[in-house]
Amino acid sequence: MRRWFPSPMLSIGLLLMWLMLNQSLALAHWLLGGVLAIVAPVLARPLQPHGYARIARPLALVRLLWMSTIEIVRSCFNVSQIILFRRADGVNSQFIRIPLDLHSPHGLALLSCLINMTPGTVWVDLLPDRHELLLHVFDLHDERWWVETIKTRYERPIIEVFEAPAAPGQGGKA
């Protein structure tokens, strides 16, 4: 089973994408999409240095994505407000460092995408020596608050999503 469906989530995603692209639910498109959903992940597997992500808790992932959607809309308004009404030299843009406990490469990728999607924050780098995230914040008011927010609202749910089996299981099974 694992051999032909290395990543069920990816397969389902590809099938849905195919059906949406063709805007059709005809049997032929289910078949073509099914072939794509099986063949593409198998062929692409050697290209994945860390193997496919194993999502332990899909529900937690959905909750995380929903939370970050709300966060994106909220910070959109904050950033717009600053652009419109604040004098440019009054904006306190800063780099901050956030110590991370997250080590899964897929989790880090997800975290960086979520942070960069949210207006007002850009992921700069992961400092390897102490495993710290260097983050650029558009308008910093309280560094402690940012560290707290990233750690509790983003990092913890992501660790939950890719929980323990992802890290050791990856090398052995994949």
């Binding site: 994408m17 949406m20 692209l21 805007q23 994106i72 809309v73 959109c76 950033v79 717009s80 652009i83 419109l84 440019a88 030299d89 904006v91 843009s93 800063q94 780099f95 960086s112 995408c113 979520l114 942070i115 960069n116 999607m117 949210t118 207006p119 007002g120 850009v122 992921w123 700069v124 780098d125 400092l127 020596d129 260097l134 650029h136 558009f138």
Partner: protein, 127 residues
């Protein structure tokens, strides 16, 4: 355009509102590029265009074509998904390019505070 005449008023209002809102947000993102002083501030401007601006325009498109063709048209979701997947990667690449370049060129657009911070970073990286 005959199709527009057949659009019921509630759909027309929704679509128009979303398009105007999306357009304004996009405009605001570019105003940010113009108004903000340093590179590290300007990188945050287009982020609102990518998220809310694109979102509003895509939802408007979905509503419009769903009503006009009287069947669900939702493949705009794919545009949204792909933009949201690629845009963060691009902004990260641009940011890192700037960071690695900053100490070498001594770019005048960077503030003193920014450069001292990035100096520390590139020292970390060089090891």
């Amino acid at each position: 355009m005959n199709a527009i005449d057949t659009l019921p008023w509630w759909a027309a209002v929704t679509v128009a509102f979303l398009l105007v809102l999306g357009g304004l947000i996009t405009l605001l993102g570019t105003v940010g590029l113009l108004r903000l002083q340093t590179f590290y501030q300007r990188i945050h401007g287009p982020a609102i265009t990518i998220t809310l601006g694109t979102g509003c325009i895509l939802i408007a498109s979905m509503v419009y074509f769903t009503v006009i063709q009287s069947r669900p048209v939702i493949h705009e979701i794919l545009i949204g998904a792909f933009v949201l997947m690629t845009a963060p990667v691009v902004s990260m690449l641009i940011m890192r390019a700037a960071i690695y370049r900053a100490p070498r060129t001594g770019d005048a657009a960077l503030t003193a505070r920014d450069t001292t911070q990035t100096q520390g970073l590139s020292d970390d990286q060089d090891r």
